[in-house]
């Protein structure tokens, strides 16, 4: 059974701090790993990672994948109150049965709270 585990489950920091969120996975037929940010409503897409060792960056957020050790990290530098959200890690893998269709398996999410 495919499994995605995130840590920590919750994190409380102050503005300006740097945080690192972790995601480890065990899936068959891995295709990519995705990070989403979820505020009050819909999860919004942050990054998609397919290759090991290549960092993706968007402003103060960055992420990297290690396919050998089966994990990814999401870094947020100089945190702001607007970064408060649930951060979801998901792994895209091929469905069983030899099809070319994929499915996402989500981790539990990390609840990040940034205080002023």
């Amino acid at each position: 059974e495919d499994k995605v585990v995130q840590s920590p489950l919750s994190l409380v920091v102050h503005e300006g701090d740097t945080v690192t969120l972790n995601c480890s996975y065990e899936v068959t037929n891995f295709r990519s790993l995705l990070w989403y940010k979820q505020e009050k409503k819909a999860p919004t897409f942050l990054f998609m990672l397919t290759s090991s060792g290549i960092e993706k960056k968007s402003g103060r957020l960055s992420s990297i994948l290690d396919k050998k050790e089966l994990f990814s990290i999401l870094n947020i530098t100089a945190t702001q109150t607007g970064d408060s959200a649930i951060y979801l890690c998901a792994v895209d893998s091929l469905l069983a049965g030899g099809t070319s269709y994929g499915k996402l398996t989500f981790g539990q999410g990390t609840i990040l709270t940034v205080h002023p």
Partner: protein, 114 residues
């Protein structure tokens, strides 16, 4: 841009009642998905569809049915609601077989079963 639209946004049902959740997307996406999100458990896939007229079971399909009569719409039905189905339901869509396309999510439907 509308993207993925879910209706209703909130609903309270009594045990045993039935209802249908509607998901509509205007991005011409082939794939559509229904998830449920419960505290501490992330999002779990209920059913999905890889094209008009096709549906398949996900991780937690029991107690739910789906239909995809039109490419842009994906319906999730609860035939006899149970308290265990109290959850937030998200619909998502994505392009076809090219796996480098992320899923786009609707704003969710908060469903309470009393």
């Amino acid at each position: 841009n509308a993207g993925v639209t879910q209706t209703p946004k909130f609903r309270v049902l009594k045990t045993g009642q039935s209802m249908t959740l509607l998901c509509a997307q205007d991005m011409n996406h082939e794939y559509m998905y229904w998830y449920r999100q419960d505290p501490g458990m992330g999002l779990r896939l209920i059913h999905y569809s890889v094209g008009e007229g096709t549906t398949a079971k996900g991780e937690v399909p029991d107690g739910y049915n789906v239909s995809r009569l039109k490419k842009q719409n994906f319906l999730l039905g609860l035939e006899s609601a149970a308290p265990s189905q109290t959850s937030v339901y998200f619909c998502a869509s994505s392009y076809g077989r090219g796996f480098r396309q992320p899923q786009h999510f609707g704003d969710g439907t908060r469903l309470s079963i009393l």
